[in-house]
Amino acid sequence: MEWASQLCENRHIGSKMTDSKYFTTTKKGEIFELKAELNSDKKEKKKEAVKKVIASMTVGKDVSALFPDVVNCMQTDNLELKKLVYLYLMNYAKSQPDMAIMAVNTFVKDCEDPNPLIRALAVRTMGCIRVDKITEYLCEPLRKCLKDEDPYVRKTAAVCVAKLHDINAQLVEDQGFLDTLKDLISDSNPMVVANAVAALSEIAESHPNSNLLDLNPQSINKLLTALNECTEWGQIFILDCLANYTPRDDRESQSICERVTPRLSHANSAVVLSAVKVLMKFMEMLPKDLDYYGTLLKKLAPPLVTLLSAEPELQYVALRNINLIVQKRPEILKHEMKVFFVKYNDPIYVKLEKLDIMIRLASQANIAQVLAELKEYATEVDVDFVRKAVRAIGRCAIKVEQSAERCVSTLLDLIQTKVNYVVQEAIVVIKDIFRKYPNKYESVIATLCENLDSLDEPEARAAMIWIVGEYAERIDNADELLESFLEGFHDESTQVQLQLLTAIVKLFLKKPTETQELVQQVLSLATQDSDNPDLRDRGYIYWRLLSTDPVAAKEVVLAEKPLISEETDLIEPTLLEELICHIGTLASVYHKPPSAFVEGSRGVQHRRLPARAGSGESSESPDVGQPVGAVPDTPPAVIPSQGDLLGDLLNLDLAPPTSSAPTVTPSMQMGAMDLLGGGLDSLLGGDIAGSPAMGAGLASAPVVMPASLGAPVSSGLDDLFDLGGGVGMPTGAFVVPKTIWLPAMKAKGLEISGTFARRAGVIQMELSLTNKAMSVMTDFAIQFNRNSFGLAPAGPLQVLTPLSPNQTTEISLPLSNVGPVMKMEPLNNLQVAVKNNIDVFYFSCQYPISILFVEEGKMERQVFLATWKDIPNDNETQYQIKDCHLNSDAATTRLQSSNIFTIAKRTVEGQDMLYQSIKLTNGIWVLVELRVQTGSPNYMLSVKCRAPEVAQLVYQCYEMVLKN
């Protein structure tokens, strides 16, 4: 045995002086040999042996049996040997915790070494040993190293805190390391700052609500200074951290932008993209007419273009992000179409992304170029890419109306190539073009029909059948064509079968005489021979329709179809805003909010873009929804509350979506509309009462109703609302989910989270107290500072039993509104003091104003009108509520459950106007006009109140109630 391994060794020395000699296969006894070598007296032999051990470890061999022997080599002056042993320790300490303890002393000693390199190395390695017992010993050396005179040691120690937090979070909090880490943000050395930020960001990810990175203008200034001087990686951490900050005003926003802009010229693409994120977010706050705004827009284009000349992987990530940027601010890249042209040897994942962006940027100005390119791509080799290119031509046609004709002729050219998958794809998109521009390009149908036989994919077949059915009257042999499909009916996919059924029924309705047999055939195939419930049901519906009322059947089947929208794949605006805040992250690559997929980030905070200052333009600029300061304090509710579900149910009952075809409107809805119409007419007084036209005469007086309202109140209207109120009220009022008001770190282990609710006319503060400290907590008490609406606890804080560690208790504290009053800023701010046996803690929270809406808030109509006129117009504030998809009835019901009462509703030119009243606990009346445009998700809200300060809060409350 021995001679063999010796021979082996000799051969290696003879061949090459490299590390590959460590890769000799593990034979029996090798471990013993290594053991002997590790214990050798010769330094050199020892080191060689450790190297061999490391090499085996690297390739995944188990050399853990050598643990004690390797650890013995640790006490050495040789830096390389020390490092190698450290490497080994990090790998195997977990499996040999007891042995690892042996190494502790050396670590502690090394942390005091005069050489900072050794100190740093020791603290760094200790943090990597993921053994609980070791971490206890780590605390003292780490504390020293965090305050070391050498910045190299400090920055290493900063990262070590993050490591330790990963192993034992509680320990890090108890030892106060987080505070030390926060102090390091103000360190004089930029690298220390960067690492502290990086460590805090990582820790913050597991504490979403803690204010670890509590940014204020001073700390921002420190970060910006460090930004210029630290390494590229540090710059990424700092920029990502800056992106979480919300500047106070546009001036601060501009000054941050100015200091971040130079990063756009960095060679590291990750720095560039992080800088783009900060700028995209903060420029949201800049007034659009500012010169600097335009300058910034111009500066953003070149770095983005440059990213596209980088390696393909970088390009891919850049393209996914550009896709977002183009949707948010198309003006940045509108002149850069050409850089997105595809090179034939781009990787497929880059090609597909480029295509997407080309379509987004396509406009009348560049459509000719784009089409020429797309046509070129359609002749390439890669099938996926070709298909997408053909599809892109269709999307261009739908997006840029002027180009539709050219697109269609391009598609026809492609169909002439007879390449099978090109033809099929072309037919699928031509169907969409027909949908968008009906009765315009039907001349091409003949060409399409020629290719009928070559279609073998379900989607293409279905599209072709749809075309034949839709234009049956213009295709002479439509019946033959459809009949030919019918032969293999059972072998078709469901998609095709459904389409075929509908198409033949259409054909029958258009040419009833010749096709009776055909339609009977398909109906029996669908209803009797198929086991697909969808198909069977559709078959039965058609059958019954045709047999009972052919005229109705015609109206249903041949009803005019709604136009398809221009851009089908736009990201929904709130998601887009959130993703813009996450540019450069995985979320931006997947176009999903981080909460949807990133594991380990428990309860990620949703981010919204800050709003622009200067409210004057809020009505005309579409991307301004939220006034400053409204956003960050109120975390959006993710889980729908019970009331929400109820609201939805009511919504379903009372009003089916108005966009559906008129023929299917159930009579109940008609009844409801009549009631409303009647009620409104009577509201208006005699002259047009009884006329079924709804409020046509109202257009002349949109806001001010006639004062002479003496007409009897429509009981129908009231009943309707009372019904809604009766069902929705007891549980229906919307309650914001609990948020953390007082993090445990700030209150010696007491964590308080809570929310406010109004239940059965009583305002309640609902609290969860959690004891995260090690000792029992008792003697709780609570007090409020004076506040705007005189809220005060109506009784003592009832914590019955002492709160033991890790226990949570839920308390409902009823509040009264007779306490001392003092105006707060913001108005709904509430400062709270909580005492326990340990200390007194202070925090402030904000309550939704809806808890102050009293149940008797319904104003008499006449009073409403008089009051509305009485309040000066200066007190009227307008807001826009975006993206609310409730119709007016559902909104009414939902608002009613929060004590917002609708007094009247009028419909003028497709716009529902709801007049609503609210009464606050202190007797202030708020009058509201809510305009709901059918089919538009944006509501207009006008608030009139003698105390205009509350308008903003009322708006927030509407926003919350309607969207949750």
Partner: protein, 418 residues
């Protein structure tokens, strides 16, 4: 942050793994292998692959996949840039970045990776600093180390890491002080079948090799700095000075580094130095096709176009070709259908051409796709954008350095459609 790194060779073996936090089982790579199987070419493996508990971010370089594992939200570009840095470092240390080189130097590799990341946070990625920490292996040093028992690892704290110029090591000494700058421009272009330019842009870089003693402070000025409106700088460049005066002012790192890269995209500034005349026809029903290709110089400012290489992926229907080049040699691989013609230098008096016939599969219909020609070339002593260095000055040190500037233009992704 970055959790682990796996190196995978082209036959799908994991030949190295490194974990910066807890150990992630190598079975996580199965998701990568699945993606690899789905992709037709190794280049087409998507860079970001999700798995139930991790994300895999990979780059493919030198026939090795560098697969990084991350667990939390980490900017993907950050990871990719880091992987590039790993590749560059290996190349820098071992001359080549290959599986063999990595295996030969596995301990150095491990030491390097350990220094580059700490707990997933980048630690030392500047080549200057790494080389102070871990000396690159040379045959001489290996021999010396074996005899004397000394090691690759530096004994000193890498001082550069903390100075105001972290990219430069201190105490640099040379007997010959020299600074060389290479201005290299690559043209990316797409030319359509009629010969007109669809897109053209220039990717330029200025690479430097600076071997100067002490702490030299350099300034570099250009004749026409206006060309540079889209630039990325090495961190050493003082940005304020550039913004104000359009002068590059910097304390250089020691050795080789990329001073800046720039991008010229405005079409009228991009000259196209070669043109291609082509005539490729397939007749319907015939098993023969004709092939003609001629190259010529266009806007070359009087400089010679050299090292010309034309390559093209011929349609699948082409069985073989029978061509005659007027100069150079050509090869055609009947399996991959790759045609490549090594032209050499273009002589404007006698333009190079490649003519002949192609044989097609009998009975097959004529190919749908048209081949695209990929052209490579070099032009010495010319920066095609017209960028010119005005002067280079050194402050802060007393000696007179030797200075040199070279220009070169190359084809990047230069494609001609037919």
């Amino acid at each position: 942050m970055i959790h682990s790194l796996f190196l995978v060779n082209s036959s799908g073996d994991i030949f190295l793994e490194k974990h910066w936090k807890s150990v992630v089982s190598r079975s996580v790579c199965d998701y990568f292998f699945e993606a690899q199987e789905r992709a037709s070419e190794p280049e087409n493996v998507p860079p970001v692959i999700p798995t139930p508990h991790h994300y895999l971010i990979n780059v493919f370089r030198h026939k090795i996949f560098f697969v990084a594992v991350i667990q939390t939200e980490v900017p993907p570009l950050f990871v990719i840039e880091f992987l590039h840095r790993v590749v560059d470092t290996f190349q820098d240390y071992f001359g080549v970045c290959s599986e063999a080189a990595i295996k030969d130097n596995v301990v150095v590799v491990y030491e390097l990776l350990e220094e580059m990341l700490d707990n997933g946070f980048p630690l030392a990625t500047e080549s200057n600093i790494l080389k102070e920490l871990i000396k690159p292996p040379t045959i001489l040093r290996t021999v010396v180390n074996t005899i004397t028992g000394s090691t690759n690892v530096g004994e000193q704290l890498p001082t550069g890491q903390l100075s105001v110029v972290p990219w430069r090591r201190t105490g640099v000494k040379y007997t010959n002080n020299e600074a060389y700058f290479d201005v290299v421009e690559e043209i990316d272009a797409i030319i359509d079948k009629s010969g007109s330019t669809i897109t053209a842009e220039i990717q330029g870089v200025i690479d430097a090799c600076v071997k100067l003693t002490g702490m030299p402070d350099l300034t570099l000025s250009f004749m026409n700095p206006r060309l540079l409106d889209d630039v990325s700088f090495h961190p050493c460049v003082r940005f304020k000075r550039w913004e104000a005066e359009r002068i590059l002012s910097f304390i250089p790192p020691d050795g080789n580094f990329r001073l800046l890269s720039y991008h010229v995209s405005s079409q009228n500034l991009v000259a196209i130095p070669v043109y291609v005349k082509h005539n490729i026809t397939f007749r319907e029903g015939s098993s023969q096709g004709r092939f003609e290709l001629t190259l010529g110089p266009k806007q070359t400012m009087g400089k010679a176009v050299e090292s010309v290489l034309v390559s093209s992926q011929m349609p699948r229907g082409v069985l073989n070709v029978n061509l005659t080049p007027s100069q150079g040699t050509y090869t055609f691989d009947p399996v991959t259908k790759l045609l490549s013609w090594d032209v050499g230098k273009i002589n404007p008096q006698k333009l190079p051409s490649l003519k002949g016939s192609m044989s097609l599969q009998t009975g097959a219909s004529k190919p749908d796709e048209n081949p695209t020609f990929n052209i490579q070339f070099k032009i010495q002593q010319l920066a095609i954008s017209g960028l010119k260095v005005n002067r280079l000055d050194m402050y802060g040190e007393k000696y007179k350095p030797f200075k040199g500037i070279k220009y070169m233009t190359k084809a990047g992704k230069f494609q001609v459609r037919t």
